[in-house]
Symmetry: C2
Subunit: 330 residues, 2 copies
């Protein structure tokens, strides 16, 4: 069993985004619902700052969609922090059923996928997908103490500071979820925690090739193929992997990690983190659908299931990629 076709009308009825200062200074600065001047969001720790971003982002989503708390039947949420505390603490004040996910940087796509299926099936009237990441919580957890100031390699990515939320229901918005394809874990042996793009690209290729084979669609049938956070390194690896199997995605493949920052912002291979794809979805893809610039898109959330302990114990880093097919038509 592969691609799952939704049976009913299911749309992205509202999106919201909160971002950090560097992201505000990037390419989409004017599009975020809110940004933090110093990335602390009034909190004493970076962990609390990330939780606060989730809280504010979810509040923006409610406001923008015109929803009360009781209108949301479930939240699918996750983040990169150990035990996903940005989500559980950030959304704690909301009395809404909470389903925690861990899909690393693919969590937004996983959350949208599960929200779409459960809304399509009539189990929830309306569900939210909510994720976050923060450069200062992720870097010290996964790589170096941030004060250390270690030199970053060319393949390194920059964990995006931000939170994204998408509300999924049966309304009419101009951005509909038609099909989903959950990803399989793929591990081709990458052990470099500073090269997540290489760890994730094979999983993205696996999912995209299964999608093209199963749907009969060609890359040229899709206006935008938007991967989550492969960065320029992973983007070129994915392009090569797909090309070897006869799929030319050059005309339509964009990566959220390559869209968010300006070249002079020195993020090396690009952005990463749960918020990378979530901001790409909320401010780039959603906008293009609303402006009727595109008629369809594949959103491929990419995750490197990377654990510092597992890497220290000699393991390589598995990747996973979940796919959503969006269309402007019901």
């Amino acid at each position: 069993m592969g691609i799952i076709k939704l049976k009913n009308r299911v749309c992205v009825s509202a999106v919201a985004s909160v971002a950090g200062r560097k992201e505000y200074d990037g390419c989409f600065g004017d599009r975020f619902d809110e940004y933090g001047k110093d990335d602390t969001f009034g909190q004493k720790t970076f962990e609390d700052a990330e939780a606060e971003m989730q809280r504010r982002c979810f509040a923006h989503a409610l406001r923008k969609g015109g929803f009360a708390e009781g209108d949301i039947d479930a939240i699918f949420a996750g983040d990169l922090m150990n035990q996903c505390t940005a989500s559980s603490y950030g959304l704690l004040k909301y009395d809404i059923p909470y389903l925690g996910l861990f899909g690393a940087c693919s969590t937004m796509a996983e959350a949208v996928l599960l929200a779409a299926l459960t809304v399509d099936g009539g189990y929830f009237r309306r569900a939210a997908a909510a994720v976050s990441s923060h450069n200062c919580t992720a870097e010290r957890q996964f790589r170096m103490p941030i004060e250390y100031g270690g030199q970053r390699t060319p393949t390194a990515q920059w964990t995006v500071t931000g939170a994204g939320c998408a509300v999924i229901d049966g309304g009419a918005s101009g951005m509909y979820i038609k099909e989903v394809l959950p990803g399989r874990t793929v591990d081709l042996g990458v052990k470099d925690a500073a090269n997540m793009g290489a760890a994730m690209a094979p999983a993205a290729a696996d999912t995209l090739e299964r999608y093209f084979a199963g749907s009969g669609k060609k890359p040229s049938d899709i206006d935008v193929i938007l991967t989550g956070d492969l960065g320029s390194e992973g983007h070129s690896i994915l392009t090569e992997l797909l090309s070897m199997d006869g799929y030319d995605t050059a005309a339509s493949h964009l990566d959220c990690g390559m869209l968010l920052y300006r070249p002079e912002q020195d993020v090396h291979s690009g952005g990463s983190g749960c918020a990378c794809s979530a901001l790409g979805l909320a401010v780039y893809l959603y906008d293009r659908f609303m402006k009727k610039e595109i008629k369809n898109a594949l959103f491929v959330g990419t995750g490197a299931l990377m654990s510092p302990m597992a890497v220290a114990q000699g393991h390589s880093i598995p990747g996973v990629a979940h796919l959503i097919y969006f269309s402007s038509e019901v």
Copy 2:
């Protein structure tokens, strides 16, 4: 929106369990599909041992259900290790769509809930719920280096070494999933990482009271109310909380954390961890349905969304509890 009633026939079609030595020496030793004499399962690290338990447990589930790998459309999986690596590494060899969850010790119930909804909706023909925990990976991550040998408080629980798997499909087994109720996060201020029962009991009370109020059922209508890992401390708190609101669960409330070990095994308040409720489901509850000893049950997976960093930064521990209503009748 509260209780979700399933529309189609959805059953637990196979279960499997792998356990550690202490669990084998406990009350259900003869019922596990496999146990580890020294809890290493032939691996060099405890983390790899836990992943190996997941792999073996899933293999047992396939074997016992008579399923090939291609018969399972998705795995919902999670564990307690940072980045849930026991699940991602343990299940890596299976080319099955992988949806990672983080629900702390409630993960088995969350996985069964999502597997049930996605199978009921016809999105997956058959889905698996797979979780694990290992005393030696959890204790050193959440509390003390295990070599330290710190004295355990009376309210402390013992993280269960084991893995559990349930395969959910539309077959006929004698153990059907009729209703589910996802939990909300509840935080009443408990900050003691050695008292998880107190942190989780309010969430269990919230979910059970919503279930009783929404379904119109009384506790006496249910043969077994099986909570995940409240232990004796959390069990008594839950009993008191429910009693204050007029629900007397004394006759039917059992807790997996109090069932697994013998009194002389010195686990203090009881077992805990993802595997605690998973083993309770796989070897206790499933058996009772198969033997036709009970006609219905509420399975309430309880999770303490506890992070050592969050506790160190002064936060209390939120709990969550997801509920499944099982029946012997379709």
